[in-house]
Symmetry: C2
Subunit: 218 residues, 2 copies
């Protein structure tokens, strides 16, 4: 007799994610799920990009954090509508939390909503949160083996942003390896090499973002 095998399908999370997606699509709001390790530069990247896009779009931010609101304060200082989501120790954001938070924004007055996910390369990738698309950040100091080690994160993202690219000379980081690994698991991924510190590559990334946003809200 065969052993009966059940599959854990996170139905309820997927259902809520689909509801959010439909709601945001109806209201012409593009939600961007930004993921990466702790310290990869998620907040800095969002900040840089908001500076470049805020003339063109009305932008809001949901700041996910295990605890504390340092990042939310930074966004607020830029004059953005921001809501903090404190996961109280949990390793990822679930769709239900986003659904609870959305009424806090005036969605009619918003074009783009960035969600800064929890710093973690594993769990956030497993949970759709109703996003229009995903951005995964990998910073040079983290090492060039990360795409192989965390395939789900890098196979489900729309853009791979190699951040802290100005540090390449100080690290033994084989960018060809990362690019080839990323394309292996995700042939359509767009790859960017940027530095939040000196701004290099940020124009190209902002241009790509803008085109992706326009596809969803125009």
């Amino acid at each position: 007799m065969e052993i009966k095998v059940f599959h854990q399908v996170m139905d309820w999370n997927e259902d809520v994610s689909d509801e959010i997606k439909k709601d945001l699509s109806d209201k012409k709001v593009c939600m961007i799920n930004v993921m990466g390790s702790p310290g990869a530069g998620k907040t800095s990247l969002i900040t840089e990009v908001v500076n470049k896009l805020s003339g063109k779009y009305r932008i809001g931010v949901i700041e996910g954090d295990i605890a504390g609101q340092i990042d939310a304060e930074k966004m607020k200082a830029m004059g953005l509508p921001v809501v903090q989501l404190d996961t109280d120790g949990a390793c990822h954001i679930e769709a239900m939390s986003i659904q609870h938070i959305l009424p806090e924004f005036n969605l009619e007055d918003l074009d783009v909503l960035f969600v800064e996910n929890i710093g973690n390369l594993v769990c956030p990738a497993e949970f759709n949160i109703g996003e229009s698309f995903r951005v995964a950040i990998l910073s040079i100091p983290e090492g060039d083996d990360k795409v192989e080690k965390y395939p789900l994160m890098f196979s489900t993202t729309d853009a791979l942003v190699l951040n802290k690219y100005d540090m390449m000379q100080y690290f033994d980081f084989d960018e060809k390896r990362v690019e080839s690994n990323a394309i292996d698991v995700n042939p359509d991924v767009s790859i960017f090499k940027v530095s939040s510190r000196n701004g290099d590559g940020m124009d190209d990334f902002a241009k790509w973002l803008s085109a992706e946003i326009d596809k969803r809200i125009k």
Copy 2:
């Protein structure tokens, strides 16, 4: 103006966990959530303990795995009713999955249900699955800093089992540090030092398990 802060409460998981708990309590079944890193010895520990307790209790097993069913085959070979839960890459088991699986067992003919959770020290600790109590395994080769690094796992467990204790002489493992850290975050925790390989300490652990089980089903 303050930044509005939302807390991610995993209500639905908690609700389902409570339903399971009530159901199992009504049916006098004790469910034990066994957690620990990959390779800590979860399967071996369950196997050893089943050998000691199977004369006294009717035992079933839910084998959680990211993929594959090697562990479930081992349990089946012991003649136990076993169901495999394949999380398809997810880092933890959710209560909803357990609720889907329970009807596969004839609960009237069961006293004890072991759930072998996914090998991971972070995420499984965040999700109650309707268990009567928890067992966390830490093996000596993993190192003596794990209680400090993963406080949620060790603060929410009822028993801490230090496995592979026969390997103490080969590792720089400060057991006093682990015990004191564990008691700091979890004053009521019961600590056991065992070896699945040579059976040391297993009688004490089985005796404790038996007393805990009796509290729930008698």
